[in-house]
């Protein structure tokens, strides 16, 4: 019934399914711990094994529920011809490093294996031990797959130009960066002037004056400055507007290094380096942006991709101010966007949404995407020129 005869082999195969099909982060250490755990619990009892493996292999509450279902399906599978219920994968499976950046359409396919090409989205996350080793894909099939994108427009525009910004933009960016701070750090740091006496350093300093503490040392609480993350919508509906977003990014990058810039449409792309080069005075076009420039927008999926690829590695923390530049016209599922925004709100100091449509008289944020995102936004505004941008710094409020 099980794919392998021995328990360790089954355990490794099980870890593999969790890792590959459901995005669990399981390393050799966890597998080893799992094997050790099975030495101390009665392996004949299903619940004992389940309860022992769950704390080791899952890391979040969501993962614990996924774990329970996969455990049942792996060790107690139903009849072979019966279709199994798909479990949504937690993280989208990312392909190799080269594919990750250049072919975003591919990273949108969870569990992308040659076998389920035509099975469509319903087959995503389907678990069955027999599928653990996907059939090797031929080079031609792979090429055909990665160069096809259902959402790609026929005529591909060249990417927008990044230009160095003028003094007015830079001044506005400087004001923004200066104004944005997260209050004082709770930590006390040694400082020339401070509000708290530093006994330890005073005592140390007294060694130079023969044990007499003549020079007082102080501690103070430094200011916490946030990181800025800009997520700029590059879809066709945003064409008129995204230039201002990029100008803003270049302006901010020219005054601080604490900034990360991404563009997205059907998937996400990091353009921080290009923006920094533009800020340093280079004139360049965003190279080969066709995949994320000029197509429909899947905001929810793109934000999820941001969270999974960068957010968990420190891209989004409580010191981050996230700025989304988008009109909220989302072709994806609003619940996906809602989930992503909820997580982003939880992992950031403030969420700023810049929506160009806000300029239109009588505009109400009623499209499904915007409605889903609205509860998690701290500042909702629009930026068209440097004057708007200069005003923005007055409006952003952060959680201290």
């Amino acid at each position: 019934m099980y794919p392998f005869a021995s328990l360790p082999d089954n355990l490794i195969a099980f870890c593999d399914v969790l890792r590959r099909e459901h995005g669990f982060r399981i390393g050799a250490g966890e597998s080893h711990d799992a094997a050790r755990a099975l030495e101390v619990v009665p392996v004949a009892s299903e619940t004992a094994v389940r309860d022992a493996l769950r704390p080791i292999l899952s890391r979040t509450r969501h993962e614990t529920t996924v774990f329970d279902r996969v455990f049942t399906e792996f060790f107690f599978p139903g009849p072979e011809d019966q279709e199994q219920i798909g479990i949504p994968p937690i993280r989208r499976e990312l392909e190799s490093e080269t594919a990750e950046d250049e072919q975003p359409s591919e990273s949108k396919r969870p569990g992308a294996g040659g076998a389920d090409e035509e099975a469509g989205p319903d087959a995503q996350g389907e678990v069955s031990p027999s599928r653990m080793t996907p059939a090797p894909e031929t080079a031609a099939a792979r090429l055909a797959r990665i160069s096809y994108s259902p959402l790609r427009t026929e005529h591909v525009d060249a990417g927008p130009e990044l230009t160095p910004v003028d003094a007015a933009w830079r001044e506005a960016a400087r004001a923004l960066v200066h104004r944005l701070h997260l209050g004082l750090s709770r930590r006390w740091r040694p400082a020339m002037r401070g509000r708290r006496f530093d006994l330890r350093r005073t005592l140390r300093a007294s060694l130079q004056t023969g044990g007499e503490p003549l020079v007082a040392r102080w501690r103070s609480r430094p200011r916490r400055t946030p990181r800025l993350v800009l997520l700029i919508d590059g879809s066709r509906s945003m064409e008129m507007y995204s230039a201002a977003g990029l100008q803003m990014a270049v302006a901010i990058a020219s005054v601080t290094l604490h900034v990360d810039v991404f563009t997205f449409s059907t998937s996400l792309r990091r353009v921080t380096d290009d923006v920094r080069r533009a800020a340093a005075g280079a004139r360049l076009r965003l190279a080969r942006m066709e995949y994320s420039w000029g197509g429909g927008t899947n905001i929810g999926a793109s934000l999820h991709e941001f969270l999974h690829r960068f957010g968990q590695r420190g891209g989004a923390t409580r010191n981050t101010v996230i700025v989304v530049v988008s009109d909220g016209l989302d072709v994806g599922d609003p619940t996906l966007l809602r989930d992503a925004m909820q997580t982003i709100a939880r992992r950031s100091a403030a969420v700023v949404w810049l929506n160009p449509l806000l300029e239109t008289p009588g505009y109400e944020p009623t499209v499904a995407g915007m409605r889903a995102a609205l509860p998690f936004i701290t500042t909702f505004a629009s930026v068209r020129d440097h004057a708007d941008f200069a005003r923005l710094s007055q409006m952003i409020r952060v959680r201290g």
Binding site: R25, G27, G29, E30, D33, R36, A37, E39, V40, V41, T47, A48, R50, D51, A52, R54, P55, I56, S58, R59, T60, R61, E63, T64, S185, R186, R187, W188, L199, R200, L203, G211, P213, Q312, R313, G314, T317, R318, N319, Q342, T343, A345, R346, R347, V351, L358, E359, P365, L374, P375, F376, I377, T378, T379, F380, A381, S382, M395, R397, R399
Partner: protein
């Protein structure tokens, strides 16, 4: 080695009901010597479980309560500077040499042990409770990782202290912020949900002796319904224990509309929640009259925005 069943009985003897998965998680934690990260809504007994574990293992409980601004020194050790200064002054007239005086000045007598240092200098493995780690900042979390991995602390004046007996570590979090993946990787993970009706009855019986069966059943079902409502502050196990005590002291043997009105303050801690209760009055009355409760263990989900704030819209 303690197995899960023993843990369950020992916890029960101490009035703490653990289900099988929690007991197994504790067993694995003891066997693998890895920290156990316990997450769950407030009031399900995360902190209490560590206290009971220490008692069950007959060892010390050392508690590190995290708060914003907690730094390494406050968690590890500090020198008692005022005492040191005083000693330096008083010993000026001694005939002892400078070296001797300095050695004494930086001896353990002047060392203030904070919880983490305390935990690694015990003669037998203590239970170290790192409570509400989500309240400390990320920098502290990183520092904590280092200590949890190495179990040694270097004090420049004294040298490196290494744990002779690794503490058993329970880390709790209320999910007010996302914990780093690195911390999660170091720990075993357990989600502690609200108890089911049956479990809650068992808890009430164990903790409130003399409670009538009917009352226990009613309280447990009411709690289940209340936790299903979108209350601002959902009642935890502590609240149901308080409630049981309150009803006992009012000499009630069952719960009716009047008793509910009198004692609702034990359960609801936010004024706005009263309005929600009034809307769902009919459901509550049905439950009071013994209607079956839709059984969804932990039906309450932690989908709040954690008070992130209101939306401001700019208009020209």
């Amino acid at each position: 080695m303690i197995d899960a069943a023993t843990i369950q009985t020992r916890f029960r003897e101490r009035g703490f009901i653990v289900d099988e998965s929690f007991a197994t998680a504790l067993q694995i934690m003891l066997a693998l010597e890895k920290p156990l990260l316990v997450e769950g809504p407030a009031g399900v007994g995360k902190t209490e479980s560590a206290k009971v574990l220490a008692d069950a293992l007959d060892t010390r409980l050392i508690r590190l309560q995290c708060y914003e601004g907690l730094d390494a020194m406050a968690a590890l050790y500090e020198w008692n500077y005022p005492r040191q200064m005083l000693y330096a002054r008083l010993s000026e007239t001694d005939r002892s040499s400078t070296e001797e005086r300095e050695a004494h000045l930086f001896s353990e007598a002047f060392l203030l042990r904070r919880p983490l240092l305390e935990a690694i200098t015990q003669d037998r493995s203590p239970v170290l409770l790192i409570d509400e780690v989500d309240r400390a900042d990320e920098a502290f979390e990183a520092f904590l990782l280092e200590v949890l991995a190495e179990w040694q602390v270097t004090i420049p004046e004294l040298g490196t202290l290494r744990a002779r007996h690794k503490p058993y570590v329970i880390v709790t979090s209320n999910r007010t912020r996302e914990l780093s993946d690195a911390l999660r990787r170091r720990c075993l993970y357990l989600w502690l949900a609200y108890p089911t009706v049956a479990q809650e009855i068992e808890i009430l019986r164990a903790r409130v002796p003399g409670l009538s069966d009917r009352l226990a059943q009613q309280i447990a079902s009411m709690m289940q319904v209340l936790r299903g409502l979108a209350l601002q502050k959902a009642p935890g196990v502590a609240e149901s224990l308080d409630w049981a005590m309150a009803l006992m002291s009012l000499h009630r043997d069952h719960l009716d509309a009047q008793a509910l009105e009198q004692t609702l303050g034990c359960v609801l801690k936010v004024h706005e929640d009263r309005a929600i209760i009034d809307v769902h009055r009919a459901d509550l009355d049905q439950t009071l009259n013994g209607a079956p409760v839709p059984s969804q263990p932990g039906g309450y989900s932690l989908d709040t925005d954690f008070g992130i704030g209101t939306v401001s819209t700019r208009r020209r």
